[in-house]
């Protein structure tokens, strides 16, 4: 799947170029205008505080213990050359094992993490909704709503306008006045979801955030997702629940150790993925 270098065919381009600057949402949807292009992206990040590995070192064990803790910076190559195009109105699922680079990829699309090579192109505002995210634990829900909306680029007047709506959607009642560290994980997730979608992002990325909610929250968030797609936005969803993916997505990308293994219809990709999962489970049983 990786390393296709597209032949730049300047000769004979019989296919019409996509309409430039489709204005209305309907038009954008009808022409299938791209909203997100990920072009051969590699992502690496540093982690601190691991143990340094020095294979073949002949130091005595006590000295190894000392040196292991110095210069312990690991570079993780999380995404290795992923390319895809997403269009207005699409809803794309990202599946793969833990550590396959799904969350890292979303972070890069959100602009929260620099790419090591390659490029990501988007149209409009991208908003990332993670499990542990965004918000400031020792501040109240109220403050977090205001801060989150401002950070997403809303003006103070718009924040006021959306405030009630966010509180209502998050459904946290009196807890809105308490610091977020007092929240249950479900409440935190609901509030974050409400904030992230308040700014009407063009690209909404959801990283496992639906997993903690109850049924009514799931229904409400599904409605929000549909609204965004109606407005010709795009949703990227990371989930380990194949049910959620099937319900929400019309296209699935399978990431395997940072490489795009498959890209296509949900049923086919999920089936192929589950096949390898089953093999692993079998192996684990033995």
């Amino acid at each position: 799947m990786a390393e296709q270098t597209e032949p730049v065919t300047a000769t004979a381009a019989p296919v019409a170029a996509p309409a430039v600057a489709a204005t209305s949402a309907e038009e954008a949807k009808a022409t299938g205008r791209p909203i997100l292009v990920v072009d051969d992206v590699h992502l690496k990040y540093k982690t601190y505080g691991g143990k340094r590995r020095t294979p073949g070192s002949r130091l005595p064990s006590w000295a190894k213990g000392l040196t292991q803790g110095v210069g312990a910076v690991d570079v993780v190559h999380a995404v290795k050359g992923v390319s895809f195009v997403a269009h207005h109105g699409e809803s794309i699922g990202l599946i793969g094992h833990n550590g396959s680079g799904k969350s890292t990829l979303l972070r890069a699309v959100a602009g929260a993490m620099p790419v090591s090579s390659g490029a990501i192109y988007t149209d409009g505002v991208a908003s990332l909704l993670g499990v542990s995210g965004a918000l400031i634990k020792n501040l109240s829900g109220e403050r977090n709503i205001i801060l989150g909306c401002l950070a997403l680029g809303l003006k103070p007047s718009e924040v006021k306008q959306h405030f009630e709506e966010v509180v209502e959607f998050a459904d946290i009642g009196e807890f809105v006045r308490l610091p977020m560290e007092a929240y249950s994980s479900g409440m935190g997730a609901r509030l974050r979801f409400a904030i992230s979608t308040a700014a009407s992002p063009d690209i909404l990325m959801i990283d496992e955030a639906l997993a903690t909610g109850d049924a009514s929250f799931k229904a409400r968030s599904q409605k929000r997702i549909d609204e965004i797609r109606e407005r010709a936005g795009t949703v990227l969803l990371v989930s380990h629940s194949m049910g959620t993916i099937k319900e929400t997505c019309d296209r699935v990308l399978w990431l395997d150790s940072g490489v795009l293994r498959a890209d296509g219809q949900p049923d086919e990709v999920i089936e192929a993925y589950m096949e390898t999962q089953r093999a692993k489970v079998e192996a684990a049983k033995k």
């Binding site: 949807k29 909203i35 990040y45 540093k46 972070r107 400031i136």
Partner: protein, 300 residues
């Protein structure tokens, strides 16, 4: 589904896009590249548009810092007062470093309050990016908002201390003089200077985290070099050493504040020009230094 059917193996290109490179597709659709460093003008505009975020974040964190206790916001006043008392006990009564100063209490209290603002700004500024990983990792915004905001927090927390000064200093026998009205400008200059420092330190710590571990030593050394509790001219003389110590920015802002509030310290044009120069210089250099690495402030 109304959306286009993705073609397996074509990275999701539609029929119309087949045969084109991904970059061409992106460009012909008018997409913008994510990340990277925007040009300076656009960056400044973006900063200005999101200024409310920096201000709200600063106010919220200033408020929350004292909320974890019974006395709550009262600590804003108690903290500087107790601090001043401790320093007075050590340097005024035990070490007696009051040589050449008539009103030592006022001298010391002004020194401690203004010095603390600078060092606290350096400390929080250095961690402005690495300490806010939650925000940085999940939202896209001009990162310069963070150093701006954390120093603003310090400024907000310093204001009660300035009020305490305005009550305390007359109690030590200083008469009101017109120079008092210049005090806000000293605070302003010092704040601008501290923001510039925070920009520079924030980037340095992102590049080499270990620098954050060195900052406590730097601030401790600065305390002894900045005439916080002794008069530089009385101990270091007015030669080269004395002048260098007196005109380094941290000592300079403390001295400027003293010239505003104390009769025995005479204001001079040199001091004010120095104060303005350090502030503008630090802000411009620090900001440019920070902006040049904007694309790096993600994770790692």
């Amino acid at each position: 589904m109304t959306a286009t059917e993705p073609l397996p193996g074509a990275q999701g290109r539609t029929a119309a896009e087949e045969g084109k490179s991904l970059r061409e597709i992106a460009e012909s659709a008018g997409l913008k590249q994510v990340g990277g460093r925007p040009p300076l003008g656009a960056y400044l505009r973006d900063l200005w548009e999101r200024r409310h975020f920096a201000v709200t974040l600063a106010r919220s964190s200033a408020y929350s810092q004292n909320q974890g206790s019974y006395l709550g916001q009262l600590w804003n006043i108690l903290n500087p007062l107790i601090n001043a008392a401790v320093y007075l006990a050590i340097f005024g009564y035990v070490l007696k470093t009051d040589r050449g100063i008539e009103n030592y209490i006022a001298f010391l209290v002004i020194g401690v309050f203004f010095f603390q603002f600078t060092t606290r700004s350096m400390t929080v500024g250095s961690k402005a990016i690495t300490g806010n990983a939650g925000l940085v990792n999940s939202l896209q915004f001009p990162r310069a908002l963070l150093p701006l905001s954390v120093v603003l927090t310090e400024l907000i927390m310093m204001l009660p201390a300035v009020l305490v000064l305005l009550v305390l200093v007359p109690m030590t026998g200083e008469p009101f003089q017109w120079w008092w009205l210049m005090l806000p400008f000293v605070v302003l200059l010092q704040w601008v200077f501290a923001t510039g420092m925070a920009f520079a330190l924030a980037r340095m710590v992102v590049e080499v985290r270990d620098i954050a571990n060195l900052i406590p030593f730097v601030t401790r050394a600065l305390m002894y070099f900045s005439g916080v509790f002794f008069s530089i001219s009385s101990y270091a003389g007015s030669g080269i050493l004395g002048s260098v110590l007196a005109y380094q920015p941290i000592a300079l802002y403390i001295e400027l504040a003293r010239t505003c509030l104390m009769v025995e310290s005479q204001p001079s044009l040199g001091l004010w020009l120095g104060g303005i120069g350090w502030a503008v210089g630090a802000l411009v250099v620090g900001f440019l230094f920070f902006w040049r690495a904007e694309e790096k402030y993600g994770r790692g």
